[in-house]
């Protein structure tokens, strides 16, 4: 799959693992905030 993408890797669309981690963290924190406020 790698050769099909000139950005990211076969496993992720992000430039590296840490960028993917940070995006996951941001998504999770936004969800946690929404759950805290509205549920």
């Amino acid at each position: 799959m790698e050769e099909k993408f000139d950005r990211g890797s076969a496993l992720t669309i992000f430039k590296n693992d840490r960028a993917e981690d940070i995006v996951a963290l941001v998504i999770a924190l936004i969800i946690a905030l929404l759950v805290y406020l509205f549920v």
Partner: protein
């Protein structure tokens, strides 16, 4: 490079999702929903299908008729088609296959003597991976969706972070020091064994790493959390999950037989099952098979099992250092690697997110701080007798007829502790303590009382045992992120890659599993007695 493909499929997926949401909302799917027993999901079905369908329609139109130039917008939006494709499959898994298996398992139970769906763990975890594998090997992942499949790991990582919200320090408080040491020794010990054996057997470092986390801690979450640290491939994660589940099935049948033949007590057996069996659902199955008349074994087993997850951050750091050491040593022929630089450079931030959510959860902002996976005990007066939004009084205390029923059933109860708890329930007209609640649940499971008496006990239990809505919502969201991630993960596993990996990981995982089961049996037998 322009990534966006002018495909009409995103639009079609959007139409299917919106149509499905409409059919659910207008009750046209009521017979199917009734057949699958999924009426509790109808709100979720229409909300999610409308939301994702709307996004798919908008992006689908943009893909077909928009102008696409190379850049960030093109790059990131091109993944939406694949995300929608995975979500469509996830809908089928979560609202179709998962409840269908549960129904078949339940229906076949009288004939088979056991619930095959529960024993084989045929829930959304396994069904998601299988669905992905079938799609990639039978139909192939379409080119317009391949870009989005690379977002599945992001879904799994987000799920692991949110997983922290289900736990709190209260669990640790329920355990004695010996138990924590016991769990720690077996988690870290079995992990170390897999690392040693995997290295000796020349398994790839990534396979060894993810297998060690899966066998050491437990199940899907650990394998998923450890996978990015050791650059594990999708197949390696699937192998680990497969090993854990298959080995767990054997344990579920073998543990209760061995436990009974050795004359183990409920606490001893609970500690052993919670340490030795790798998958949570199978731990519960073995505990209930060992002690169908009480809840003590199940409770101890669950505490032991769940506490293993809290070792996740430690094993992730260990694996990060181990992996970089081995890879760098092989690449540069160097023996020493700066551990601090590995921790700073490679430590997965999403595991810090798991810890953060765990800490937040322990403060009580999502549920009372003493909650246990979102459930907590409260029998205070304001809970037992309250008014609902319309001003109507809700009285959860036992009524005179309930007390009469329970008093009549009292003679059927033989265990002293259960008789005492039942008497306190009758006198107080509510479950008087958390311990009483556990004891009465055991009595209810034992089915020694009349059907009506059992129903009163069930109602009394529901009146004092509450589930925090916020944690329940987190649980739903985690299930969705995991389903999304695992379907995408399955879509990256081809038959060729399975042939290439061979069966050795399954053999090594099972051998270490047996060593762990036997080792924990000996230690529990020697050290754990009537209290933990």
């Amino acid at each position: 490079m322009v990534y966006t493909e002018k495909s009409r499929w995103t639009l079609i997926i959007g139409v299917i999702m919106v149509a499905y949401a409409y059919l659910v909302q207008s009750n046209l799917l009521a017979p199917v929903i009734k057949f699958l027993n999924t009426s509790r999901y109808t709100g979720e079905m229409s909300t999610l299908a409308y939301a994702f369908g709307g996004i798919a329609l908008a992006v689908g139109l943009w893909q077909l008729y928009g102008r696409h130039k190379e850049g960030q917008l093109d790059y990131y939006l091109s993944s939406v088609a694949g995300v929608m494709f995975i979500m469509l499959v996830a809908f089928v898994v979560k609202w179709g296959l998962d409840p269908l298996m549960a129904k078949w398992g339940h229906d076949a139970q009288p004939a088979l003597g056991f619930n095959f769906a529960s024993v084989l763990n045929l829930n959304y975890v396994v069904m998601g991976i299988i669905a992905g594998i079938v799609i990639v090997n039978v139909f192939n992942v379409p080119s317009w969706a391949q870009h989005g499949v690379r977002l599945s790991r992001l879904g799994l990582k987000t799920g692991v972070i949110l997983l922290g919200s289900l736990y709190s320090f209260a669990e640790l408080a329920q355990l004695g020091k010996l138990s924590i040491v016991l769990i720690g020794v077996f988690v870290l010990g079995s992990m170390w064994l897999v690392l040693v054996v995997g290295t000796r057997r020349n398994l790839p470092n990534s396979m060894t790493g993810v297998l060690s986390a899966g066998v050491g801690v437990c199940g899907v979450s650990a394998a998923v959390a450890a996978a990015p640290v050791v650059q594990a491939k999708s197949l390696e994660i699937a192998y680990t999950i497969g090993t854990i589940l298959l080995f767990g099935v054997l344990c579920m049948f073998a543990f209760p037989i061995i436990g009974k033949s050795l004359g183990m007590g409920p606490i001893q057996f609970g500690a052993w099952a919670g340490t030795g069996i790798l998958n949570s659902a199978q731990v519960a199955g073995a505990a209930l098979a060992f002690q169908p008349t009480g809840i003590e074994t199940l409770k101890v087993a669950e505490i032991f099992n769940i506490t293993r997850v809290l070792f996740l951050p430690i094993i992730v750091v260990w694996l990060a250092v181990w992996y970089v050491r081995r890879e760098e040593a092989a690449a540069r022929h160097v023996e020493k690697v700066d551990i601090m630089s590995v921790i700073v450079g490679k430590f997965p931030v999403f595991v810090l997110g798991f810890i953060l959510m765990f800490l937040l959860s322990s403060t009580g902002i999502f549920a009372p701080a003493r909650h246990y996976q979102g459930a907590y005990f409260d029998n205070s007066d304001k809970v037992m007798v309250r008014t609902d939004r319309s001003g109507k009084e809700i009285n959860n205390l036992l009524k005179d007829t309930d007390v009469e029923l329970l008093t009549k059933d009292m003679e059927k109860v033989k265990r002293d502790d259960q008789r005492a708890a039942l008497q306190r329930l009758i006198d107080g007209r509510k479950v008087m303590s958390e311990d009483d609640d556990d004891t009465l649940r055991g009595l209810q499971n034992a089915k020694v009382m009349s059907k009506e008496g059992g129903a009163v006990l069930a109602r009394a239990h529901r009146a004092v045992r509450h589930t925090a809505p916020k944690v329940a919502r987190f649980r739903d969201l985690i299930a969705w992120f995991f389903t999304f991630g695992l379907v995408g993960l399955g879509m990256q596993i081809t038959v060729a890659s399975i042939k290439q990996a061979g069966g050795q990981p399954l053999v090594i995982g099972s051998i270490i599993g047996v060593i762990k089961a036997v080792g924990s049996l000996v230690v529990v037998w020697l050290l754990v007695h009537e209290s933990i």
